[in-house]
C-alpha cells in the first residue's frame, strides 16, 4: 500500500552534470519499497509545476530508514527539486507501481540501463543477493556517467558504454549485451531506459529465449491508476489493449507489452 508522506531530506548532492542524488528519511518507504517501484514527488509549492513527478526508488537503507532517488534536471519540476535544502521536507506518494520480479531461480541475471533508466536497477542488483550479476550501463557521454562504484560493487561485472566514446565502449550498450548473451547466457534480463534500447533488449531476449522485464516511462497525472493518462499497449501486436504504466507497470514482462509507438 502506498501513502502520502512528508519526509525529511537528509542530503542532496550534485553527482554529475545536472544529476542530483537525494537521500530521504522514511521508515515507511524504506520498509515497503520493492525494486522497480517509484515515488510520485511534488516538486514545487503552489500551482506551478502542478503535477507530481515520478522518480524511481534507486536505493534503500533499511537499517537507517532512508531511501535514495537520483534525478536529472529535465524541466521546471526537476529544477525545483534540485533546489530543495537538507532538513526541509519533500511531499511524496509511494511506493507506487509494480516491482521487478525477483526469484531464486534466476541464477545469472543481466541488468541493462540507459541514461536515467539506470537508477531503479541499483536497488534491484542489491536485492538479488545470490545471483551472478552482469550490469550494462549506457550513457550519452562521460559527463553523465554516475554511480559506477556502486554498480560495480552491487554486481559481479560492469560494462559501460558512451555514445561518443568518452568513457568505456564507444557505441550502444546493447552491442556489449549481445556478446555476453552469446558467451554467458542469462536466466533473465531486466531493462530500463530509452525506448529504442528497450525495444532492442526485448528483441534480443526473445531471440535468445531469455526471460525479460522492461520498465516503461509515460507522462502521468495521478500515479495511482485513477486518471488513465499513462497508457501503454499490452497484449499482442494484433490484439492489444491500453494498460497503465503507473499501476499495471512500470515493470512489465517484455512479451506482454507492445512497443510500437
Amino acid at each position: 500500500m502506498s501513502r502520502v508522506l512528508n519526509e525529511r531530506i537528509e542530503s542532496i548532492e550534485k553527482i554529475a552534470k545536472s544529476i542530483y542524488r537525494m537521500t530521504v528519511k522514511s521508515e515507511y518507504i524504506s520498509a515497503n519499497a520493492r525494486p522497480g517501484q517509484f515515488a510520485n514527488v511534488k516538486c514545487s509549492e503552489g500551482i506551478n509545476a502542478l503535477l507530481r513527478r515520478p522518480i524511481s526508488i534507486c536505493d534503500v537503507d533499511k537499517d537507517r530508514g532512508t531511501f535514495d532517488i537520483v534525478f536529472q534536471i529535465k524541466g521546471i519540476g526537476t529544477e525545483y527539486l534540485s533546489q530543495k535544502r537538507v532538513g526541509s521536507e519533500v511531499d511524496l506518494i509511494g511506493p507506487l507501481g509494480s516491482p521487478f520480479h525477483i526469484s531464486e531461480e534466476y541464477k545469472r541475471i543481466a541488468v541493462v540501463g540507459g541514461g536515467i533508466g539506470i537508477f531503479p536497477l541499483l536497488y534491484l542488483l542489491k536485492e538479488m543477493k545470490e545471483a551472478d550479476k552482469s550490469a550494462f550501463l549506457g550513457f550519452r557521454s562521460s559527463d553523465y556517467v554516475v554511480m559506477t562504484e556502486e554498480f560495480e560493487s552491487a554486481s559481479d561485472r560492469l560494462s559501460i558504454s558512451t555514445d561518443d566514446g568518452s568513457m568505456g565502449y564507444k557505441g550502444i550498450i546493447t552491442d556489449l549485451l549481445a556478446e555476453d548473451i552469446a558467451d554467458r547466457g542469462f536466466d533473465i534480463i531486466y531493462t530500463c531506459g530509452p525506448m529504442p534500447m528497450i525495444r532492442k533488449v526485448k528483441d534480443m531476449a526473445q531471440k535468445a529465449g531469455i526471460k525479460c522485464q522492461v520498465s516503461l516511462e509515460q507522462r502521468m497525472g495521478c500515479g495511482i491508476g485513477a486518471c488513465l493518462v499513462c497508457a501503454c499497449k499490452t497484449g499482442k501486436p494484433d490484439n492489444w489493449e491500453y494498460s497503465h504504466v503507473c499501476k499495471d507497470g512500470p515493470v512489465f514482462w517484455s512479451d506482454e507489452v507492445v512497443l510500437d509507438d
Partner: protein
C-alpha cells in the same frame, strides 16, 4: 462557546448528499483508487469515469500535458463499458455511504438512451449526461454545443431515465446560459459545469503538439475564474440546482462556486496532486461556515452580492 452543529447536507433534485463535495468524473476513477488514502464515506458523492455502451480503449498516449497552473488531457473516454461497471464497480462503491453518479457518454442518442435505461435499473443514485467531452471524434460534445442538440438529447434520455438526471455542460460555447436553459426546459433535473476547455500545448523542440491527439481539455486552477463566471451565469437563469467545478482544490475555492450559485461542487484535477483533496475541501467548507457562524450550506448558496 459551544460549537453549533453545521449541516453540510444538500439535496440535488432528490439526490441527497451528506456534504456538497463530489469527486469529478474521470479524475476519481471508480473510487477504489482513492480508498487507500481516504475514507470514501466522508465525501458526498463520486461521479465515476465516463461510461460508454461498449468498452473503449481511448486515445494514443501522451494523453497529458502540464500547462501553467493546469493540465491538458486527451484520455478519450477509456472505460470498461456500462455492463462491466454495473457488475464490477457498483458492489464495491455501495459499501460506502457516498452517492454514486454514473457519468455517461455516447456516439449516438440511442447509446445514451440505452445506457440510461440500463443504469436506471442499477443500484446508483444519479446519472450525469456528459455531452461535453472534447476528446472523442464522434458524438458527445456535438450534442452539447447547441440549444437544439442539448434539448433533443436531454428530452430523449429523460424518457429512459428513472434517476435524477444531471446534464454536464461544456464551456466551449458562446453563451452557456441558453444551453443551460434548453437543458432545463427539456427535463434536466440539475446542471453540472464546467467540463474541460479545449486547448493545445506545443513542444517547440519537436515542433509538434505534446498530446498525441494534438488537442485536449484544460482543467485545474487555471480554469477556475472561467468556471466561476459560467456557474454564476447559469445559476442566475435556471431554477434547477447547479453543480459547479473547475479548478477547485480548497474549501475557499468551493465556497466561491457556492456563493456564485452552486448547490454542490465537484473536485477534479486536484485529486491527482493530493489524493485527499475532496476531504480537504469538505473540511475547508466546514471551517468557512464556522467562521461566519452559518449553520447550513444553504446559507451561502447563491448568496453572492454583486458590486
Amino acid at each position: 462557546m459551544t460549537e453549533k452543529n453545521i449541516d453540510l447536507s444538500v439535496d440535488i433534485a432528490g439526490l441527497k448528499l451528506e456534504n456538497p463535495v463530489i469527486g469529478a468524473s474521470g479524475t476519481f476513477g471508480f473510487g477504489r483508487e482513492f480508498a487507500d488514502y481516504m475514507d470514501l464515506n466522508r465525501i458526498g458523492g463520486i461521479s465515476v469515469k465516463g461510461l460508454t455502451l461498449e468498452k473503449r480503449q481511448g486515445n494514443k498516449p501522451p494523453r497529458i500535458a502540464e500547462t501553467p497552473a493546469g493540465i491538458l488531457n486527451s484520455v478519450g473516454l477509456q472505460n470498461p463499458g456500462v455492463k462491466a461497471f454495473i457488475e464490477n464497480e457498483i458492489p464495491f462503491l455501495r459499501k460506502f455511504s457516498t452517492k454514486i453518479i454514473a457519468n455517461i457518454a455516447g456516439n449516438t442518442i440511442e447509446d445514451y438512451c440505452s445506457m440510461a435505461e440500463q443504469l436506471s435499473d442499477a443500484d446508483i443514485d444519479a446519472i450525469e449526461l456528459n455531452v461535453s467531452c472534447p476528446n472523442v471524434k464522434k458524438g458527445c460534445v456535438a450534442f452539447g454545443n447547441s440549444t437544439a442538440g442539448i434539448s433533443e438529447i436531454t428530452g430523449k434520455v429523460k424518457k429512459y431515465c428513472k434517476k435524477p438526471l444531471i446534464v454536464k455542460l461544456t464551456p466551449n460555447v458562446t453563451d452557456v446560459k441558453e444551453i443551460a436553459v434548453a437543458a432545463e426546459d427539456a427535463g434536466a433535473d440539475a446542471i453540472s459545469l464546467i467540463n474541460t476547455i479545449l486547448g493545445m500545448a506545443i513542444d517547440i523542440h519537436r515542433k509538434r503538439p505534446i498530446l498525441a491527439n494534438n488537442v485536449g481539455g484544460l482543467s485545474g486552477p487555471a480554469v477556475k475564474p472561467i468556471a466561476v463566471r459560467m456557474v454564476y451565469e447559469v445559476a442566475s437563469v435556471v431554477k434547477i440546482p447547479v453543480i459547479g467545478m473547475g479548478g477547485i482544490s480548497s474549501g475557499e475555492d468551493a465556497v466561491e462556486f457556492m456563493l456564485a450559485g452552486a448547490s454542490a461542487v465537484m473536485v477534479g484535477t486536484a485529486n491527482f496532486i493530493n489524493p485527499t483533496a475532496c476531504v480537504d475541501v469538505v473540511e475547508g467548507i466546514k471551517n468557512y461556515l464556522k467562521m461566519y457562524n452559518h449553520s447550513s450550506v444553504y446559507e451561502i448558496i447563491g448568496k453572492l452580492q454583486l458590486n
